[in-house]
């Protein structure tokens, strides 16, 4: 496989993760953790597939997935922002609950053939050298995922509401002083993020892994999406890069399999997971006290180089992530 085809394949397989990662980035940017991703993705994938199958309408399927994703997120928002219960506890329970709910409700539709997002190359653009086959010989969902990355970036960093969104997660009190209804907007962004996670689920069952089954085969991906958000430093572009990197790893694992026949094949698909966690250690290393103490002891030249590398990798969460804000 040449590199252009490979890039196109990576791009084609990435929309679910991109949607989930961008959605969670938005939610966490507003200061709320939606830990339920691993279950949300399964339940929304199932919902989207079943709705698309029964209505024979792909768009309705996507919308159904988004609605369910938003509803799950709103439960977390209600439990945490209104009832002040720990976000992590609610999110964790919902992870398991949504997964099991997906298996139960999706049982009658297991391994049933259904609709699938069609391949729609963009005439003209698809014939461009290199970028044509990568970017424009795809389907609407892939195009949408690319647009979403750019839009989210522009919204977050270029617009007034985007700045306020950043403020929500950084310092709610300061955002309130600037005239924002903190809890209401946190509800909104939690729901928006959840809807995008739901779109990610739909992109699985209507595109990347069409249909439904138990187990569906993507279990665990939601956790990885959460890890990618951290790796991405809560910034949409870097998070998207992280998502592509993860899909690339998965593809490479498949390729590696043929190169290393002595290792059992089932090991490879799981490889990206530990790798992702290792990178997490790398990006959070700069926050550890002992690392800084160690660096202070090294010769100045080496320390400066190491410090710069760690600083470049380092990510730190929105300052108020996971905290509840109340005026006084």
């Amino acid at each position: 496989m040449d590199i252009v085809t490979f890039a196109a394949v990576v791009l084609a397989a990435s929309p679910p993760i991109i949607f989930a990662v961008i959605g969670e980035t938005i939610t966490e940017k507003a200061g709320v953790i939606n830990l339920s991703l691993d279950g949300s993705i399964l339940l929304t994938a199932m919902t989207a597939f079943v709705v698309a199958l029964t209505t024979n309408n792909l768009i309705l399927g996507c919308l159904a997935g988004m609605a369910v994703g938003a509803a799950i997120a709103l439960i977390i928002a209600f439990a945490s922002l209104t009832l002040k219960q720990p976000q992590v506890a609610t999110g964790f329970v919902l992870t398991l609950l949504c997964r099991d709910l997906a298996y139960v409700l999706g049982n009658p539709y297991s391994r049933v053939p259904g609709p699938q997002v069609p391949h729609t190359p963009i005439p003209g653009l698809m014939n461009l050298p290199v970028i044509g086959p990568i970017l424009f010989d795809q389907n609407p969902v892939v195009y949408l995922s690319l647009v979403l990355i750019v839009l989210t970036w522009a919204y977050m960093y270029k617009t007034q509401p985007g700045l306020k969104l950043q403020g929500l997660g950084e310092k709610p009190a300061a955002t309130y002083v600037r005239g924002v209804n903190v809890n209401r907007m946190r509800y909104v962004y939690t729901a928006v993020g959840g809807a995008l996670v739901g779109l990610g689920g739909a992109a699985f069952s209507l595109l990347v892994k069409p249909g439904w089954a138990r187990p569906y085969g993507i279990e665990g991906t939601g956790w990885i999406a959460l890890a990618i958000v951290i790796f991405g430093g809560w910034r949409p572009l870097r998070a998207a890069a992280g998502a592509y990197f993860f899909v690339l790893l998965q593809m490479l694992a498949n390729t590696l399999q043929s190169a290393l026949p002595s290792v059992p094949t089932q090991v490879f698909p799981t490889l990206p997971f530990p790798l992702m966690i290792l990178t997490l250690v790398l990006v959070t290393l700069g926050n550890a006290d002992w690392v800084n103490r160690l660096l202070n002891r090294l010769p100045e030249g080496v320390a400066r180089w190491l410090r710069r590398t760690i600083k470049a990798l380092q990510t730190s969460p929105p300052a108020a992530l996971g905290t509840v804000w109340e005026k006084q």
């Binding site: 403020g167 950084e170 310092k171 300061a174 002083v177 005239g179 300052a319 005026k327």
Partner: protein, 499 residues
């Protein structure tokens, strides 16, 4: 803008934070609001700014009564406030901070904002790089940013809550020049501070608050003594501690050219000898370095250079727990934040504090200890009471009850804050019993009488600088008040400080 607050009342639980406060600010003046910590200044200003609602009282702007429902509305009405901890976004750039919340437009006009920011900055001789991240700015620069931002939004009255706590002398001068310029331009400035010297040099008028009430009003030129009296009340002569110190050859605690710092403050090359049984009081505005010294002595903040000796042994850099085992105790001021554990009972606290090794908790014995502590320290509560159910004063007594019985050195923040005079007397009686057994006490307090009455020697802190130890018998409230306000520290380097 003429600002008037009439008969403002505000209660937090049992605390009457603002008790019928009336304040008038003339346009074109800088009005000082002076008072010690806890006098009610911040509460009053938060009410003016719409951050909290008053229980009763009126706010008038240019003679018209207004109801402030939120800080954003206050800004719209022309009242802008700089909070003690800047309410800005360290993770964002200066320009993003500047435009955040500025207008309902979807995409802010950054080019215009950049130009306006530059113009405003040049007016006041501020130098702010629009593309720098606020996290890289000093507190002084962050204030400058807030000032130009609020002016840009149309503020005609500017409230500054303790703006000079964490900024350098140069930045303070720059701030003062800017504030005078604003007043000359017809704007009203309310300058909230507990620093006498600054209020005296800057403000045209001063209103003094103490314990939630207005205790005085003055105009230029001021009499420092009178201001101090308004702030701290009359100096009621009390019986002072009269103990003849045993001057042993060896000090209990010796600091040798100790340098200790946090992100904004540094105490440099401090020398100090503390004798067994001695009581050292630390005076100074909050955040002038007293806490750094306490933390250095108990191992919570290792000094960056210098040595610390305890009873002849070098303990520099030893951990908090090692020092605790060696008889050094630290009593924090945070009560429920650091010190007590909400949701745990008095008995549980005593079991934790009196841990002597062993595996099983002897609950009957812990309950007995709790009962003893309750009796000894007059805590209103049961051994089974959870600490968050206790009143503030009783939480304070609980902190005291948790101190180990055998101690070499006791380090305390505000030993009697929240207690009435009689209880404070009782507590100090118990503490002084300890000193007779050779325990040395170092404490910080914002109660000048407490400092003068209880200490043998007093260290005054000012912006990280430390005075030579003063004999508590030989100074009075006025002298101490002036020192705390920064008089006598001069502009020299911090290297002068020694003991």
């Amino acid at each position: 803008m003429r600002v008037e607050l009439r008969e403002i009342h505000k209660r937090f639980g049992s605390v009457h934070a603002n008790n019928g406060i009336t304040l008038k600010v003339t346009p074109g003046t800088i009005h000082g609001l002076l008072g010690e910590n806890g006098a009610g200044k911040s509460t009053l200003m938060k009410i003016l700014n719409g951050f909290i609602a008053a229980d009763s009282g009126e706010i008038l702007l240019d003679g018209k009564p207004v109801t402030m429902t939120s800080p954003a509305q206050a800004v719209a009405l022309g009242v802008g406030m700089l909070y003690q901890d800047p309410l800005d976004f360290p993770a964002l750039t200066v320009l993003d901070n500047f435009v955040l919340g500025c207008s309902p437009a979807l995409v802010p006009d950054r080019r215009r904002a950049r130009r306006d920011l530059r113009d405003l900055c040049s007016q006041f001789d501020f130098t702010l790089d629009p593309d720098a991240h606020v996290s890289d700015l000093s507190i002084g620069e962050r204030q400058q940013l807030e000032i130009v931002r609020l002016l840009w939004l149309g503020a005609r009255t500017l409230v500054l809550d303790e703006p000079t706590t964490a900024i350098s002398a140069q930045q303070r001068d720059k701030l003062f020049v800017a504030l005078r310029k604003l007043a000359e331009g017809g704007k009203s400035v309310i300058f909230v501070s507990h620093k006498l010297e600054e209020v005296e040099t800057l403000c045209d008028e001063v209103t003094v608050l103490s314990r939630g009430r207005v205790t005085g009003h003055a105009q230029q030129p001021y009499s420092t003594e009178k201001l101090v009296q308004m702030m701290f009340g009359q100096d009621i002569p009390r019986v002072r501690r009269q103990v003849q110190l045993v001057t042993t050859a060896e000090p209990l605690l010796r600091l040798e050219r100790v340098t200790v710092s946090d992100w904004r403050l540094e105490i440099r090359n401090l020398n100090l000898d503390v004798m067994p049984g001695e009581v050292i009081g630390m005076a100074g505005l909050e955040g002038s370095g007293q806490l750094l010294l306490l933390q250095a002595c108990c191992g919570l903040r290792p000094p960056t250079s210098g040595r610390i000796w305890l009873a002849g042994k070098d303990v520099t850099g030893q951990s908090y727990h090692r020092l605790r085992a060696a008889g050094v105790a630290y009593m924090p001021a945070g009560r429920l934040e650091e010190g007590l554990i909400a949701d745990m009972t008095l008995t549980e606290h005593l079991a934790l504090a009196e841990y002597q090794g062993g595996f099983f908790v002897d609950w009957p014995q812990a309950a007995q200890s709790a009962a003893r502590g309750i009796e000894r320290y007059h805590i209103k509560g049961q051994p089974t009471s959870r600490v968050e159910e206790l009143s503030g004063g009783n939480q304070q007594r609980t902190l005291l009850a948790l101190l180990p019985s055998q101690l070499q050195l006791l380090l305390m923040e505000h030993p009697t804050r929240g207690l009435d005079v009689e209880s404070a007397e009782h507590i100090w009686g118990l503490l002084l019993e300890r000193t007779q057994q050779g325990t040395a006490i170092i404490f910080l307090s914002s109660d000048l009488d407490e400092l003068l009455d209880r200490s043998d020697r007093i260290l005054v802190f000012f912006g990280g600088r430390v005075s030579a130890p003063l004999n508590a018998r030989q100074i009075n409230v006025e002298q101490l008040g002036e020192l705390i306000g920064g008089k006598g520290f001069g502009g020299g380097g911090a290297d002068e400080s020694r003991g």
